[in-house]
């Protein structure tokens, strides 16, 4: 698997988790098929926040790997 493919897979996995999480956090009931105005606003913000949290954790991982080297990473 090439690096680019790996990156695509990472993006796809992140997207799927984002869809899941934001559905859980923002969609409250299933009476109508359309998102309400409140739900839509919530979803938009949720996507931004999830993206931010993802970047944050990525930065921390990078710092950890620089500090500890591969031996400090048992995952």
């Amino acid at each position: 698997m090439s690096g680019q493919q790996m990156e695509l897979e990472a993006m796809a996995d992140m997207f799927n988790k984002m869809v899941d999480q934001c559905f859980k956090k923002c969609v409250a009931e299933y009476r109508e098929s359309d998102l309400s105005v409140g739900e839509s606003t919530c979803v938009d913000r949720c996507v931004h926040k999830y993206w931010g949290a993802h970047q944050k954790v990525q930065d921390i991982l990078q710092k950890q790997m620089q500090a500890g080297g591969p031996s400090a990473r048992p995952m």
Partner: protein, 77 residues
Amino acid sequence: LEEMQMRDSLRTFNGLVERCFTDCVTGFRSKSLTDGEDKCVTACAEKFFNHARRVGQRFGELSQKQQEDLMKRMQPK
């Protein structure tokens, strides 16, 4: 790559069934879905597709913005 995408869509689809089933089906006094469960599953799935579409739009915008920021930083000043 295509295989990967198919497997991914498959997992998303089955995850959706799981979610709507968990949230909508709570009684087991009959073999078939009750009217209420049926309506709930339908709305749940349709809402999920609308939701996924919206997340996709926002996600696309953020990815593009990131790409552009990366480009700008790589350009000589």
